[in-house]
């Protein structure tokens, strides 16, 4: 118990340190610059925006599922529901409270649901006569323990990908932007006791708009702690079988790159095309539960924003 408390405390301290660092950077970036203050005052007032943002996209897309014996996740409808108040906001399941809103950054406390669980929702039971060895590889099952040996192949073994739960995570998020583009820094910790781990992530994106077309590439990475990776991608002792050997996943970094393009037909309607590639950390890819070491998502369709 003491070890658990110390481990959680250590993780919280790491997150606090990261956020503190981010705040210092923000404070420096947000210090008023005498040369730009006059410009800011002279600029036109921002247009009034509605608190609600509601939209839906219809088309065809898919997100691959790296989990063994699982189906890819089709995306036919992408619903967008968000509400932004002065401090509080709701953004497609994330609930946030803005702590600081400065000229170059916005920092918020955010509660969210971890999405890794979604991969475990579309699984199938299979009978196999091989063992999962990680990275999509398989090996022969160990011969049956029969006295005197046997020439017969091992009988098929039932394999059920294990169940995993959603985790409620609480953390800090900083959004920064400028002429150089936009960055998002996030630090989240499980507060639901599901995996007990944490995730640190950073993403950079930049949008170019020419006429009615906008194009926005994104690059980023997510560091996931050993507790988090092991909960979702480890094969726990009570789950291990001959076909699914026990595996402990350590901490690792996922790298990600994506591109979103939009062609605006009217003020409310656009044609959207997006693609995203995520390279899973070696510690995840090496899990017997992982069939692929990547997740690819793409979508093409028409999006309507009310």
């Amino acid at each position: 118990m003491l070890r658990l408390i110390m481990r959680v405390t250590g993780n919280v301290l790491k997150i606090a340190a990261l956020c503190g660092l981010a705040s210092v950077v923000h404070a420096q970036a947000d210090a008023p610059d005498p040369s730009t203050t006059a410009t800011a005052v002279a600029s036109a007032p921002p247009p009034n925006e509605r608190s609600w943002r509601i939209g839906a996209a219809f088309g065809y897309g898919e997100r691959t599922n790296p989990l063994i014996q699982s189906d890819d996740i089709p995306v036919l409808v992408d619903v967008d529901i968000a509400w932004f108040g002065k401090r509080w906001f709701f953004d497609n399941g994330d609930v946030g409270y803005t702590l600081f809103d400065r000229s170059s950054s916005t920092t918020s406390l955010v509660a969210r649901v971890n999405d890794d669980r979604v991969f475990f929702g579309k699984t199938n039971t299979r009978y196999v006569n091989f063992a999962y060895a990680g990275n999509g590889f398989t090996t022969g099952l160990p011969p049956p323990a029969v006295a005197g040996g046997s020439e017969d192949p091992p009988p098929p073994v039932e394999v059920n990908p294990p169940d995993r739960d959603y985790a409620i995570e609480l953390g800090v998020e900083s959004l920064l932007d400028g002429d150089w583009g936009a960055a998002e820094l996030r630090a989240f910790h499980d507060v639901s006791g599901t995996h007990g781990g944490y995730e640190l992530s950073a993403h950079y994106s930049r949008r170019w708009t020419v006429g009615r077309v906008s194009i926005a590439p994104t690059l980023g990475f997510s560091y996931k702690s050993a507790q988090m990776n092991n909960y979702y991608w480890g094969v726990h002792a009570d789950e291990a079988t001959d076909a699914l050997p026990e595996y402990h996943a350590g901490a690792g970094v996922n790298f990600e790159g994506g591109l979103v393009t939009n062609y605006y037909l009217t003020r409310h309607l656009r044609f959207a095309l997006s693609v995203n590639y995520e390279r899973l950390a070696d510690e995840i890819a090496a899990s017997p539960l992982a069939e692929d070491d990547y997740v690819v998502a793409y979508f093409s369709g028409f999006a309507w924003t009310f």
């Binding site: 803005t98 979604v118 998020e173 959004l175 994106s205 906008s214 009217t266």
Partner: protein, 134 residues
């Protein structure tokens, strides 16, 4: 008899009222483009509008820009016309075709402005959910 007299008077009033539908033939106005997309790096669009109109009958029409108090161009007696206009756009406005005195509108077209950037950067949070791919 008294009712009939009131009816005649009423009809006479209606006939003498000025009416847009009667005085100015209906027209069709076509403008391209209809949308200005503004992002962070540019506060306005610089667009060349191609404006075409056609009416059922020849009449005196003037083309107007809702942001201006005087017409852009007038046609003394015409049933069709074209006009190109180079314009900086930062707010939605209306092109309309009407009578020279501005009292009647035969057709109008709204030019919309879409701002992609927002003063509230939380609105541009990255899509993160599995089902959220845009």
């Amino acid at each position: 008899m008294k009712k009939l007299r009131w009816l005649v008077v009423g009809c006479g009033l209606l006939v003498n009222l000025p009416s847009a539908a009667v005085d100015l033939p209906a027209a069709r106005l076509i403008v391209k483009p209809l949308l200005c997309v503004i992002d962070r790096e540019a506060g306005q669009c610089s667009l060349t509008f191609r404006i075409r109109w056609k009416s059922e009958a020849a009449a005196e029409y003037c083309l107007n820009d809702s942001a201006l108090s005087t017409p852009l161009r007038c046609w003394p007696s015409a049933s069709a016309g074209t006009h190109d206009q180079q314009r900086e756009v930062s707010e939605a406005f209306i092109y309309w075709l009407g009578a020279p005195d501005g009292t009647q509108r035969a057709a109008e077209v709204k030019i919309d402005v879409l701002r992609l950037d927002s003063p509230d950067r939380r609105r541009e949070r990255r899509a993160r959910h599995v089902w959220d791919v845009l």
